[in-house]
Protein backbone atom coordinates (compact mmCIF):
# COMPACT_ATOMS: atom_id res chain seq x y z
CA UNK A 1 0.00 0.00 0.00
CA UNK A 2 1.19 3.50 -0.79
CA UNK A 3 1.95 5.96 2.00
CA UNK A 4 -0.87 8.21 0.81
CA UNK A 5 -3.37 5.48 1.84
CA UNK A 6 -2.04 5.52 5.43
CA UNK A 7 -2.13 9.32 5.43
CA UNK A 8 -5.71 9.21 4.14
CA UNK A 9 -6.73 7.00 7.11
CA UNK A 10 -4.86 9.40 9.40
CA UNK A 11 -6.80 12.38 7.96
CA UNK A 12 -10.14 10.63 8.53
CA UNK A 13 -9.20 9.82 12.15
CA UNK A 14 -8.05 13.41 12.67
CA UNK A 15 -11.37 14.78 11.36
CA UNK A 16 -13.39 12.42 13.60
CA UNK A 17 -11.29 13.52 16.59
CA UNK A 18 -11.81 17.21 15.81
CA UNK A 19 -15.57 16.63 15.47
CA UNK A 20 -15.68 14.89 18.86
CA UNK A 21 -13.60 17.60 20.50
CA UNK A 22 -15.88 20.37 19.18
CA UNK A 23 -19.21 18.74 19.99
CA UNK A 24 -18.67 17.23 23.44
CA UNK A 25 -18.69 19.00 26.81
CA UNK A 26 -17.91 15.98 28.95
CA UNK A 27 -14.26 16.18 29.97
CA UNK A 28 -13.60 12.44 29.55
CA UNK A 29 -15.24 12.39 26.09
CA UNK A 30 -13.07 15.36 25.08
CA UNK A 31 -10.01 13.45 26.31
CA UNK A 32 -11.04 10.39 24.26
CA UNK A 33 -11.46 12.61 21.16
CA UNK A 34 -8.03 14.14 21.78
CA UNK A 35 -6.64 10.60 21.96
CA UNK A 36 -8.13 9.86 18.50
CA UNK A 37 -6.23 12.91 17.21
CA UNK A 38 -3.07 11.64 18.93
CA UNK A 39 -3.44 8.25 17.22
CA UNK A 40 -3.97 9.98 13.87
CA UNK A 41 -0.83 12.06 14.42
CA UNK A 42 1.23 8.95 15.27
CA UNK A 43 0.04 7.21 12.11
CA UNK A 44 0.89 10.23 9.93
CA UNK A 45 4.29 10.60 11.61
CA UNK A 46 5.28 6.97 11.12
CA UNK A 47 3.94 6.93 7.55
CA UNK A 48 6.19 9.84 6.65
CA UNK A 49 9.15 8.41 8.63
CA UNK A 50 8.89 5.11 6.73
CA UNK A 51 9.56 6.88 3.42
CA UNK A 52 13.26 7.29 4.18
CA UNK A 53 15.43 4.60 5.83
CA UNK A 54 17.57 7.38 7.38
CA UNK A 55 14.66 9.01 9.16
CA UNK A 56 12.93 5.75 10.19
CA UNK A 57 14.78 5.16 13.50
CA UNK A 58 14.46 8.87 14.41
CA UNK A 59 10.71 8.70 13.79
CA UNK A 60 10.50 5.52 15.87
CA UNK A 61 12.41 7.09 18.78
CA UNK A 62 10.21 10.20 18.78
CA UNK A 63 7.04 8.10 18.65
CA UNK A 64 8.22 5.96 21.61
CA UNK A 65 8.73 9.12 23.68
CA UNK A 66 5.40 10.58 22.48
CA UNK A 67 3.48 7.44 23.53
CA UNK A 68 5.13 7.54 26.99
CA UNK A 69 4.24 11.21 27.45
CA UNK A 70 0.70 10.57 26.24
CA UNK A 71 0.26 7.88 28.91
CA UNK A 72 1.38 10.43 31.52
CA UNK A 73 -0.95 13.10 30.09
CA UNK A 74 -3.91 10.71 30.27
CA UNK A 75 -3.14 10.13 33.96
CA UNK A 76 -3.08 13.87 34.68
CA UNK A 77 -6.35 14.65 32.87
CA UNK A 78 -8.22 11.70 34.36
CA UNK A 79 -7.03 12.78 37.83
CA UNK A 80 -8.31 16.34 37.21
CA UNK A 81 -11.64 14.89 35.99
CA UNK A 82 -12.02 12.73 39.10
CA UNK A 83 -11.16 15.68 41.37
CA UNK A 84 -13.69 17.84 39.53
CA UNK A 85 -16.35 15.16 39.80
CA UNK A 86 -15.76 14.84 43.54
CA UNK A 87 -16.06 18.59 44.06
CA UNK A 88 -18.88 19.48 41.62
CA UNK A 89 -20.61 16.14 40.84
CA UNK A 90 -20.31 17.05 37.11
CA UNK A 91 -17.82 16.69 34.27
CA UNK A 92 -19.07 19.60 32.17
CA UNK A 93 -16.05 21.65 31.03
CA UNK A 94 -18.12 24.84 31.37
CA UNK A 95 -18.07 24.18 35.11
CA UNK A 96 -14.26 24.51 35.04
CA UNK A 97 -14.60 28.30 35.00
CA UNK A 98 -15.77 28.11 38.61
CA UNK A 99 -12.43 26.58 39.62
CA UNK A 100 -10.58 29.83 38.89
CA UNK A 101 -8.57 31.07 41.88
Amino acid sequence: METSCYLFVSSILFAIGIYGLLTRRNMIRMLLSAEIIFNAALLAFLSLASLDAGYGPVGGAIVVIAISLSAAEVGVIVSIAIMMFRMRRALDVYELKKFRG
Partner: protein, 160 residues
Amino acid sequence: MNPLSDPLSVVFILSSLMSVIAAVLIVHHKSIVYSAFFLSVLGVGNAILFTLLGFPIIALFHLSVYVGAAVTFILFSVVMLKEAPVVEPPVKALAVIAAGVLALIMVKIFSVFSAEPSFLLNYRDLTALLVTKYWFALIVAAIALVTTLIEAITLARREV
Protein backbone atom coordinates in the same frame (compact mmCIF):
# COMPACT_ATOMS: atom_id res chain seq x y z
CA MET B 1 -3.88 -5.06 -9.92
CA ASN B 2 -6.72 -6.06 -7.63
CA PRO B 3 -5.85 -4.91 -4.08
CA LEU B 4 -7.79 -7.86 -2.62
CA SER B 5 -5.32 -10.32 -4.19
CA ASP B 6 -2.50 -9.03 -1.94
CA PRO B 7 -2.82 -10.29 1.70
CA LEU B 8 -1.07 -7.17 3.08
CA SER B 9 -3.58 -4.92 1.30
CA VAL B 10 -6.44 -6.92 2.80
CA VAL B 11 -4.89 -6.54 6.28
CA PHE B 12 -4.47 -2.79 5.63
CA ILE B 13 -8.10 -2.39 4.55
CA LEU B 14 -9.44 -4.38 7.51
CA SER B 15 -7.31 -2.61 10.12
CA SER B 16 -8.11 0.82 8.63
CA LEU B 17 -11.83 0.04 8.74
CA MET B 18 -11.45 -1.19 12.32
CA SER B 19 -9.69 2.03 13.33
CA VAL B 20 -12.19 4.36 11.63
CA ILE B 21 -15.28 2.50 12.93
CA ALA B 22 -13.78 2.42 16.45
CA ALA B 23 -13.10 6.20 16.23
CA VAL B 24 -16.71 6.89 15.20
CA LEU B 25 -17.98 4.72 18.07
CA ILE B 26 -15.70 6.52 20.57
CA VAL B 27 -17.38 9.81 19.69
CA HIS B 28 -20.95 8.53 19.27
CA HIS B 29 -21.49 5.66 21.70
CA LYS B 30 -23.94 6.45 24.49
CA SER B 31 -21.91 4.78 27.24
CA ILE B 32 -18.61 6.43 28.12
CA VAL B 33 -17.26 3.05 29.31
CA TYR B 34 -17.80 1.55 25.86
CA SER B 35 -16.22 4.66 24.31
CA ALA B 36 -13.09 4.01 26.39
CA PHE B 37 -13.18 0.36 25.30
CA PHE B 38 -13.35 1.39 21.63
CA LEU B 39 -10.26 3.57 22.18
CA SER B 40 -8.38 0.35 22.90
CA VAL B 41 -9.79 -1.13 19.65
CA LEU B 42 -8.49 1.96 17.83
CA GLY B 43 -5.10 1.40 19.47
CA VAL B 44 -5.01 -2.21 18.26
CA GLY B 45 -5.97 -1.14 14.71
CA ASN B 46 -3.26 1.50 14.73
CA ALA B 47 -0.69 -1.03 16.02
CA ILE B 48 -1.46 -3.28 13.03
CA LEU B 49 -0.96 -0.30 10.69
CA PHE B 50 2.39 0.49 12.40
CA THR B 51 3.50 -3.10 11.77
CA LEU B 52 2.54 -2.84 8.09
CA LEU B 53 4.62 0.35 7.85
CA GLY B 54 7.69 -1.53 9.16
CA PHE B 55 7.60 -0.53 12.84
CA PRO B 56 6.76 -3.79 14.70
CA ILE B 57 8.63 -2.69 17.86
CA ILE B 58 6.65 0.56 18.01
CA ALA B 59 3.45 -1.46 17.51
CA LEU B 60 4.33 -3.67 20.51
CA PHE B 61 5.19 -0.58 22.58
CA HIS B 62 1.90 1.04 21.55
CA LEU B 63 -0.02 -2.08 22.60
CA SER B 64 1.74 -2.49 25.94
CA VAL B 65 2.02 1.14 27.09
CA TYR B 66 -0.90 2.88 25.36
CA VAL B 67 -3.57 0.17 25.11
CA GLY B 68 -2.37 -1.83 28.09
CA ALA B 69 -1.80 1.03 30.53
CA ALA B 70 -3.28 4.36 29.44
CA VAL B 71 -6.59 3.12 28.02
CA THR B 72 -7.08 0.64 30.86
CA PHE B 73 -6.50 3.53 33.30
CA ILE B 74 -9.24 5.58 31.56
CA LEU B 75 -11.55 2.55 31.46
CA PHE B 76 -11.28 1.91 35.19
CA SER B 77 -11.54 5.61 36.07
CA VAL B 78 -14.69 6.37 34.03
CA VAL B 79 -16.61 3.76 36.00
CA MET B 80 -16.56 6.29 38.88
CA LEU B 81 -17.94 9.13 36.74
CA LYS B 82 -21.18 10.05 34.93
CA GLU B 83 -22.13 11.76 31.63
CA ALA B 84 -22.59 15.52 31.06
CA PRO B 85 -24.87 16.95 28.30
CA VAL B 86 -23.53 17.56 24.77
CA VAL B 87 -23.50 20.91 22.94
CA GLU B 88 -26.53 22.19 20.98
CA PRO B 89 -27.22 20.98 17.37
CA PRO B 90 -26.10 24.22 15.54
CA VAL B 91 -22.60 23.79 16.96
CA LYS B 92 -22.74 20.15 15.89
CA ALA B 93 -23.48 21.16 12.26
CA LEU B 94 -20.60 23.63 12.35
CA ALA B 95 -18.32 20.92 13.77
CA VAL B 96 -19.26 18.54 10.92
CA ILE B 97 -18.37 21.25 8.36
CA ALA B 98 -15.09 22.07 10.15
CA ALA B 99 -14.07 18.39 10.38
CA GLY B 100 -14.98 17.77 6.71
CA VAL B 101 -13.02 20.78 5.45
CA LEU B 102 -10.05 19.77 7.62
CA ALA B 103 -10.11 16.20 6.27
CA LEU B 104 -10.23 17.47 2.67
CA ILE B 105 -7.29 19.83 3.25
CA MET B 106 -5.22 17.06 4.88
CA VAL B 107 -6.01 14.56 2.10
CA LYS B 108 -4.98 17.19 -0.50
CA ILE B 109 -1.68 17.86 1.31
CA PHE B 110 -0.92 14.18 1.94
CA SER B 111 -1.72 13.12 -1.64
CA VAL B 112 1.79 14.36 -2.57
CA PHE B 113 3.36 11.34 -0.83
CA SER B 114 2.74 8.47 -3.20
CA ALA B 115 5.81 6.30 -2.52
CA GLU B 116 5.57 2.74 -1.26
CA PRO B 117 6.97 2.28 2.31
CA SER B 118 9.78 -0.30 2.18
CA PHE B 119 11.30 0.00 5.62
CA LEU B 120 11.82 -2.24 8.65
CA LEU B 121 12.85 -0.63 11.94
CA ASN B 122 15.98 -2.10 13.45
CA TYR B 123 15.82 -2.59 17.22
CA ARG B 124 19.53 -1.76 17.64
CA ASP B 125 19.23 1.53 15.71
CA LEU B 126 16.26 2.58 17.83
CA THR B 127 17.86 1.84 21.20
CA ALA B 128 21.17 3.40 20.11
CA LEU B 129 19.33 6.60 19.18
CA LEU B 130 17.33 6.64 22.41
CA VAL B 131 20.35 6.26 24.70
CA THR B 132 22.70 8.56 22.77
CA LYS B 133 20.80 11.35 21.03
CA TYR B 134 17.44 11.39 22.87
CA TRP B 135 18.58 10.43 26.39
CA PHE B 136 17.21 13.60 27.98
CA ALA B 137 13.75 13.13 26.42
CA LEU B 138 13.81 9.52 27.63
CA ILE B 139 14.51 10.66 31.21
CA VAL B 140 11.71 13.26 31.02
CA ALA B 141 9.29 10.58 29.74
CA ALA B 142 10.33 8.23 32.56
CA ILE B 143 9.78 10.96 35.19
CA ALA B 144 6.38 11.79 33.64
CA LEU B 145 5.37 8.12 33.87
CA VAL B 146 6.47 8.00 37.52
CA THR B 147 4.25 11.03 38.28
CA THR B 148 1.32 9.16 36.68
CA LEU B 149 2.04 6.21 38.94
CA ILE B 150 2.00 8.53 41.99
CA GLU B 151 -1.32 10.06 40.79
CA ALA B 152 -2.87 6.64 40.39
CA ILE B 153 -1.78 5.61 43.90
CA THR B 154 -3.07 8.90 45.38
CA LEU B 155 -6.46 8.47 43.64
CA ALA B 156 -6.74 4.87 44.76
CA ARG B 157 -5.93 5.68 48.40
CA ARG B 158 -8.20 8.73 48.76
CA GLU B 159 -11.66 8.12 50.23
CA VAL B 160 -14.62 9.06 48.00
